[in-house]
Subunit: 108 residues, 3 copies
């Protein structure tokens, strides 16, 4: 955690942004770099009978850090993803809870 779950983006483009993005999120959030995971989801999208491409869509699973930090994380994602050529980005945050998140047998 935080888990960045990315849809609608080429793997190669995710690779390009992965280091500078995590460097920046590490500074914004203040948690160790190796807490982050970036997941590239292999699903397909369908509209009106056809496979379609979508704009990058990012789900962030994390412990809530408040609106201000969240705004900064969304802005960083927007900047890095549009920086490799995408025109639009949607990002949403899902707050997980310490009592429901386990490292091995112990929750946080």
């Amino acid at each position: 955690m935080p888990q960045l779950i990315i849809k609608g983006m080429e793997h190669e483009e995710i690779k390009k942004i992965s280091k500078p993005l995590v460097d920046e999120l590490h500074r914004i959030i203040g948690c160790p770099r190796d807490y982050f995971t970036i997941e590239a989801v292999n699903s397909i999208f369908i509209m009106d009978g056809e496979q379609q491409s979508i704009n990058p869509l990012v789900q962030v699973n994390w412990f809530d850090r408040g609106q201000q930090v969240q705004d900064q994380v969304a802005a960083a994602l927007y900047r890095h993803i549009t920086g490799v050529g995408y025109g639009q980005v949607e990002t949403f945050f899902v707050a997980l809870h310490e009592s429901s998140y386990y490292e091995n047998e112990k929750h946080y």
Copy 2:
């Protein structure tokens, strides 16, 4: 948004229902057609040591519209999915929050 995330259904069957389903959900929910995404997830399911097939399972990520609209969306999904031959459908809704959902740098 709304995001329809579908597991346990063939891509071709999803393509068949995609247009009439979104037409109907657009009427029920009252948001533009191009807000919808339909995602076909490529994961596999496993039970008792073997890969298994599952009944269609739909996760809907959206801003909560109340129980009545939600009931209508679930009924529409049920009708369209059983209409192409599946016997049973499970649908669940995950409410996202405007303050946590960003279009580019701005949340709703």
Copy 3:
């Protein structure tokens, strides 16, 4: 439901644990065996410009059964997954709500 969504684990290893794991969870949770689904997600993980492997990560979607049952489920997942050779496991629980979970047209 409960839905076990597993990332970072080989399909063959998931198959090995699938029967004894569900046997044990069935006893802990007290719901029928065939309510469980185990999903093996096919996404890839990326860090610092490279594809990486991650430690097994399990998301459990369920109706909340309280902290004590949840602790036992996490412990069972930890035991079965480390039992086939993985060194570390992260497990998190997402509580779904009866009024938002539909079997066909009817919610729970």
